[in-house]
């Protein structure tokens, strides 16, 4: 990892394996200390934006900060994901279609199912005497939700983790095209299966959906399903494991939560602020713009760091301190504006239910050292291994 060296810029390769816990936070802070936007020479060059106000301003202005070149560095416009790598009006149509699966009414209806899944997973974890919380609880939770929410088969969702890990590993230094193809083939097989045996689920409704008044194309169906498959499990998995890790790291916060489980919602929001699971999203300018007092040329790539913005001391005092009693609302962990995470209501519900369930058990404690990932796909920070167990009740 290169060090700060102006005027050549601030070294920040989103795929650098050294950008992990806790180094990644120091790197964001170093960028912040240099200004709201700093020039990174890595991966074709981009502006790294770390100030809360500047990140939020850019997120609110999709006409200037276009998503059409992709949300990953480099913004080469290849392999665009639906809907995040599209601008209005097509983005609006895609998002509306996907929102049907994730509406507040749908989330409310799913709540009993979600509670049942959470309880069963934590029951099994406790009965096994603990173990790796990531593979036992944090991963199966979103995968089981995807079977119910979208209509994927259990065999299909069981492949999501391996395919996603392989995908991100290739982004570091290999062409990821082959991994994308394998994911898309899996989605095509699900579409074929639903055509052969029609079912009343989101996948079934996608077969006959319309986009801007015309029948949806198969590549669009595949793109939408691929987003559910990848974005629909990884973020929640990382958030769930991070919650459990925070409980163990902050015994006083765990004790407070156990004494008053209504603190779960605020605890989840502070986790999202303090350790935003999805950290960095790129845009490309459609016209000359000013970011953080810096002139950004038309066509420049900018990397909006939600995670750094959520630790901007101008917005959140003493930002590196995890404090579930603070007002973390207004954090940018789900983004902001037209691309704001469509799964946020579902994720919040799942995470609050999980935290309430954990708080109702014996105290959770560490059973070995945790292992953190680097930024997967330049974006996702989470735990790959988290050995935990419930203390024996005395």
């Amino acid at each position: 990892m290169s060090t700060v060296a102006d005027p050549t810029g601030f070294g920040f390769d989103p795929y650098d394996p050294e950008l992990t816990e806790p180094a990644v936070w120091n790197r964001y802070r170093a960028a912040q200390n240099l200004g709201g936007a700093v020039r990174a020479p890595d991966r074709d060059g981009f502006w790294l934006v770390t100030s809360y106000d500047e990140v939020r301003t850019a997120l609110r202005d999709p006409a200037t900060f276009s998503s059409a070149s992709g949300h990953r560095i480099p913004t080469d416009g290849s392999r665009r994901a639906i809907p995040i790598d599209f601008d209005p009006p097509l983005h609006t149509a895609y998002r509306a279609l996907m929102a049907e699966a994730l509406s507040p009414a749908r989330v409310r209806a799913l709540r009993p199912f979600l509670a049942e899944v959470v309880t069963r997973l934590v029951d099994d974890f406790a009965a096994a005497g603990g173990g790796d919380f990531v593979s036992a609880v944090a991963l199966p939770l979103p995968l089981q939700v995807l079977t119910e929410l979208v209509g994927f088969s259990g065999e299909t969702v069981a492949q999501f983790r391996t395919l996603t890990e392989e995908l991100w590993s290739r982004y570091v230094d290999v062409d990821p095209a082959e991994s994308h193809r394998r994911l898309w083939e899996l989605m095509r097989a699900e579409l074929a299966d639903h055509r052969a045996r029609p079912r009343d689920d989101f996948l079934g409704s996608l077969l006959h959906a319309e986009i801007e008044g015309r029948p949806i194309r198969e590549d669009e169906q595949v793109g939408i399903l691929a987003t559910f498959a990848v974005a629909g499990h990884e973020t929640t998995m990382n958030a769930a494991a991070t919650l459990a890790w925070l409980l163990v790291e902050h015994p006083e916060a765990q004790a407070a939560l156990r004494a008053d489980p209504t603190r779960a919602r605020a605890f989840v929001e502070e986790m999202l602020r303090h350790r935003s699971p999805a950290q960095n999203f790129a845009r490309r300018t459609t016209c000359p713009a000013r970011v953080g007092g810096t002139a950004v040329a038309e066509g420049d790539a900018v990397l909006l760091s939600l995670a750094a913005a959520n630790r901007d001391p101008e917005r959140f005092p003493d930002p590196d301190r995890f404090d579930p009693d603070r007002d973390a609302r207004g954090h940018l962990a789900f983004g902001w504006g037209i691309h704001q995470c469509i799964g946020a209501p579902l994720a919040r519900t799942e995470l609050v239910l999980l935290l309430e369930e954990l708080a109702a058990r014996p105290p959770l404690c560490a059973a070995g050292p945790p292992v953190w990932s680097s930024l997967q796909g330049g974006n996702h920070l989470g735990l790959t291994h988290l050995p935990l167990l419930f203390e024996e009740e005395t």
Partner: protein
């Protein structure tokens, strides 16, 4: 007076509104759904309220006047 309404069935609890206009909007701590603060000023900052409506990803806020 600016007239503001929240569609509670559409609200997803994003909370963007209370960043734009904290004197007007708040979230229920139990449900996470937005509500209009009872003590909100009669003459609210129209720009702030319009920003809140524009920023709502769920399009749950209507502003008249």
């Amino acid at each position: 007076m600016t007239d503001v309404e929240i569609d509670e069935t559409a609200c997803c609890g994003y909370g963007n509104c209370l960043v734009a206009a904290p004197e007007v909007f708040d979230l229920h701590t139990d449900t996470g759904i937005a509500f209009l603060r009872p003590g909100r000023p009669r003459e609210v900052d129209r720009l702030a309220v319009r920003e809140a409506a524009a920023d709502c990803p769920a399009r749950a806020i209507t502003v008249r006047g």
